[in-house]
Symmetry: C2
């Protein structure tokens, strides 16, 4: 049943889970929000969404690796035109696990996962347990 | 004294604080990493860096407002070319405070702070206590 778009308290259109996952599938740069040494931080990462999980390469010894194995993280992707103030953002919160199955790792060697955020073959999967998204439409500008 | 650029364990150039703050000053869309209802999340926001603090509009009653008053948050800005894998990212971690001084709020009414993330006049300041940045250069691509 088609229905009118929902809007949140800021007037932004609320996107459904399927729309959010489609948007995730179309990008490659995201940001992981995590806690490192008891402080919140954000790490930009390249990722690949295989339709089920968000896959990110990590290197043992890095902050990202230490803080993303078997925990819960936030993951954000957006595409916003800074001039028009239009675009969208998707935020995922979910548990992470390192992929250790050799066959799966072999398949992922050929995944479209660029290397700039890591020089190693370790891969973390984020389960998109909670998914939310907003679409921004051009609105009134701030007073100059 | 000029010195060669530092690089981190992933081979990314480490940016100094002054460079990071200059990069912050040139953008308007960032992302706040925070904890909401005991789960990590990331909220995209428009911001203005006045040379000392990161200023963000919030509305009472929103997740952003509840989670950003008198706490410590992460704040991230990046500018990455997804095709060339070149660009930069800056991450700030620091304490937040709501601006309540009427004169200061009046001045901020005229700040370049667009409204898409809020419909209200409340302003949160993030103190950039910890600043780190990386510059990405085009590197080898993932195997297709």
């Amino acid at each position: 049943v088609a229905s009118a778009p929902l809007h949140d308290s800021n007037g932004l259109e609320v996107l459904g889970r399927e729309t959010c996952l489609e948007l995730l599938a179309g990008r490659a740069l995201g940001r992981i929000g995590l806690t490192s040494e008891a402080l919140p931080t954000i790490v930009p990462v390249n990722y690949w969404f295989d339709g089920h999980r968000i896959l990110v390469r990590t290197s043992p010894g890095t902050k990202l690796h230490a803080a993303t194995v078997n925990t819960v993280v936030a993951f954000e992707v957006d595409d916003v035109d800074p001039v028009e103030h239009s675009g969208w953002s998707v935020v995922v919160t979910g548990p992470t696990a390192e992929i250790t199955d050799p066959e799966e790792l072999e398949r992922l060697r050929h995944a479209p996962l660029p290397h700039w955020s890591s020089t190693d073959g370790h891969v973390i999967a984020i389960d998109p347990a909670i998914v939310s998204g907003r679409r921004l439409r051009p609105g009134p500008r701030a007073q100059p």
